[in-house]
Symmetry: C2
DNA sequence: ATCATGCTTCGGTTACTACCGAACTATGAA
DNA sequence: TTCATAGTTCGGTAGTAACCGAAGCATGAT
């Protein structure tokens, strides 16, 4: 009783449908304006403004001013992880959406989680990266191996440069649909970007869903074979 | 927008202070009666009854009837994990309790998480178990090694028998205070039980806090040296 | 300067829900 | 049977907060 951090305060913030929709919209790692988020949540701009102020005060969101726009994004990967965790619990406890939506299977297949690949494809890719010895390690402390650096270099990803950024190079992130891990961090971000650059996959407009082209899927499989 | 499981519905359940207090009280894995939970949450029995009905309907709690008592417990380890995750976010985002409470340091040191050891000591123990080759593996898929079976056998823990239970033998669980993993599952549960049996540690009454005796701490260190 | 756009603040309404008192059901003990 | 304990259901109250319209800034374009 009354021990530890104030769980209820944070959960209550996530518990409002409008705020939850805004946060979900930000799960793909993009930064969105207040107007865009208002549209996502289906409420007016002034209501949105109030919600965003509260989320920012709680440090769940980070804001960047650019001209007369204010861009909001999740304050960190850990926020995205908790959101995914809650989705997992919602799915497991049968608390699905009233109207499940036809997009759900596609969402389970492949989606953006913050800025990296999640879903069935994301988990599969992570498994392959490990099986091929490109990454190794325990728990959250996964690292890119020497062979891994060569592998990423062939994709024009400079691991050395990424390693010097403030952001963790290589992390794992729990998947709500698979309940297993996929790769995150700077490497996860760059890896996904390459998929788009190569034209192997594209993102559905205004959605977290990622679509692979038939050829892209094949080339991706070959890359990680 | 409106993709994936209904995150807000679950979060709203966790967002009420009374319900959050009840769930927190159940984090130590015990099963408590409605009356006990009413006391924990600081509300009357009839209010509690309503909350518990909702939590059970959402499959966050499981109930067992025994005579005229109804014992409530968390429906699974995953619920405890999400609660710990939310606590981590609350701590990280500065959303601490209004009155931090003098017990917080003790809680960070060693506490019960569902039915296994968490906090600084829990994370340390898990590190040692891995360093000694008692457990090995990646991610959530950790396993007890051959040497590990011998190690646990010396503690009168029959890994073979536990492995045949429905419950996962060896899992990991994320720690809100350390933001690192500790050991859970049937092994984690038995391991903690041994600490109590040996008198190395005892649990504080009506709390998740675990106190190690001076000798117990020494013997525990020696065991995992 | 004037206008348009993006966002915030203020005020009032509405809807929700946590809460408790009181009455009721169910199980067990004497 | 009678009483006590554990818990649920019902009804009414009260506090909260989500919501929008309107007005008010602030920045950028013309």
């Amino acid at each position: 009783m009354k021990e530890g951090p104030n769980l209820a305060a944070v959960a209550a913030l996530l518990g409002d449908p409008a705020r939850a929709n805004m946060l979900t919209a930000l799960m793909d790692g993009r930064a969105l304006t207040a107007t865009e988020l208002a549209h996502e949540a289906g409420v007016t701009l002034q209501t949105t403004s109030g919600h965003l102020a509260r989320l920012e005060a709680a440090r769940l969101l980070r804001v960047e001013k650019q001209g007369r726009h204010r861009y909001f994004r999740l304050s960190g990967e850990d926020v995205a992880e908790v959101l995914e965790g809650l989705m997992g619990l919602a799915a497991r406890t049968g608390h699905l959406r009233a109207k499940p939506g036809p997009k759900d299977p596609a969402l389970r297949q492949a989606r953006i989680c913050y800025d990296h690949l999640a879903g069935d494809m994301g988990v599969w890719a992570f498994d392959r990266l490990r099986a091929k010895g490109i990454v190794a390690g325990h728990d959250r402390h996964v690292h890119v191996t020497q062979e891994g650096r060569a592998f990423f270099a062939r994709l024009d990803i400079d691991v050395e440069a990424l390693a010097h950024e403030r952001r963790p190079l290589c992390r794992v992130c729990l998947d709500w649909s698979e309940r297993r891990y996929h790769i995150a961090g700077a490497i996860g971000s760059q890896f996904l970007r390459k998929l788009f650059e190569k034209g192997w996959a594209r993102r559905e407009k205004d959605s977290r869903i990622v679509h692979f082209t038939p050829n892209g899927r094949q080339d991706f499989s070959k890359l990680l074979a």
